[in-house]
């Protein structure tokens, strides 16, 4: 049996995507916490190009980039499949995963801004994004993957915990029953799944971490 290691960082939603996929497939792995402010030789060796987490190491061979890792996990451990069998359905799943990845900057901008600065345009963009997800990606399904969760749900899993924290810091409520009722229901359902519930960072600690990141950003911007 080949050894599986996961290099991660506790507040990172990207780490959790891989944790969820491995747990859903019952893959045994060793989790290694990386200190991103003081990167280990091990991290630099396993991900020389980006020097980021998560990195999956299987039988000594590293794979970086969470979405690439998810495809690898799906192919290597085919039990409890997280992508549809049909090629067209798989393409749709990949399309929506990419949609989320490409829209990242909208949320980084939101995260960086203070309550005063909070740009009405930025809010409008985020609501639009959530509506597209709800209407076109989720539709009437319980999960993006259908009756059961799949890679698309895993990719958007950050919305049900990390985004809630960001909303609290920004003093806004965008992912709610009045704006996007079906997506809100999805978030509730996703979070209540035992595998997800048992594998989330502590919310209070996460918020404290967000606050310290914001302070660091503001301090460096002020220089």
């Amino acid at each position: 049996m080949e050894e599986v290691k996961l290099l991660g960082f506790w507040p990172s939603p990207y780490s959790y995507r891989v944790i969820w996929a491995l747990k859903l497939k019952g893959v045994k792995y060793e989790y290694i916490e990386e200190d991103l402010s003081n990167k280990s030789d091990r991290l630099l060796q396993y991900n020389p190009v980006h020097k980021k987490i998560p990195v999956l190491v299987h039988g000594g061979k590293p794979i970086a980039e969470s979405l690439v890792i998810l495809e690898y996990v799906e192919e290597t451990w085919p039990q409890n499949p997280l992508l549809p069998k049909d090629a067209y359905e798989r393409a749709l799943a990949r399309f929506w995963i990419k949609f989320g990845a490409d829209k990242g900057p909208i949320f980084s901008a939101f995260f960086r801004s203070t309550k005063e600065e909070l740009d009405q345009n930025a809010i409008k963009e985020m609501v639009e994004y959530l509506k597209i997800l709800e209407e076109q990606a989720l539709g009437d399904k319980k999960f993006f993957g259908g009756d059961n969760i799949g890679l698309v749900d895993i990719a958007y899993g950050w919305l049900c915990h990390w985004f809630i924290g960001m909303e609290e810091m920004g003093g806004v409520k965008l992912l709610g029953p009045s704006t996007v009722p079906r997506l809100h229901a999805w978030a509730e359902n996703f979070k209540q799944l035992p595998i997800i519930q048992e594998n989330l960072p502590d919310y209070t600690k996460l918020l404290a971490h967000f606050k310290s990141l914001r302070e660091k950003n503001t301090a460096s911007d002020a220089r």
């Binding site: 020389p48 190009v49 299987h58 061979k61 794979i63 970086a64 980039e65 979405l67 690439v68 890792i69 495809e71 690898y72 192919e75 290597t76 090629a87 067209y88 798989r90 393409a91 749709l92 990949r94 399309f95 990419k98 949609f99 597209i132 076109q136």
Partner: protein
Amino acid sequence: MEEVKLLGVWPSPYSYRVIWALELKGVKYEYVKEDLANKSDLLLRYNPVHQKVPVLVHNEKPIAESTVILEYIEETWPHNPLLPTDPHERAFARFWIKFLDDKSPTLVGLYLTVGEEQEKATKEVRELLKIIEEQGLGEKKYFGGDKIGLADLVFGFIPVWLGVLEESAGVKVTKPDDFPRLQVWIENFRENPVIKANLPDPHQLLAHSKQKREVLLASKIA
């Protein structure tokens, strides 16, 4: 009878990735020229979310996003495989495909800037090419290994479009002795019969890029 259509635009590297994949697999398709300044109802119907090309339409089912289309083509027409069989090697190919797409602002930056900004952009592109050559290509003949694969089709941007961007922007990123392994890969890529037979006209591409640059720079100053 299977019907395959490809909606694309001639100057786009993203459209060409899909053309090359279909041609390498000998898949018959109908190419539909789109005009992005005047988007067709067909395009708006087939790609409502982004309204962009390329879009592959297979038996009336549309797929958008070039990398998603490439994976679909690989799965649907598995002959002449364009991804390795080994999962770790497949992950490697996907990593590098993502790398190039994530770095496209840097590559295009060299073309969209002037003066000091352009000097900085040129330096960044050189650094990128170094990483691509040393870590992506390494000692392999192709990014995919012994044979041309999906990663090579994505890196096809370098042999076909990078030189055009350099010329329209009046910069030269590489000297003749730079990146020797990448140069060899570029030659092998261009010599592939399928690629050679499916390239945009270089003169038209240059004229188009120059014109586009003027428009983009003018709108930046405004």
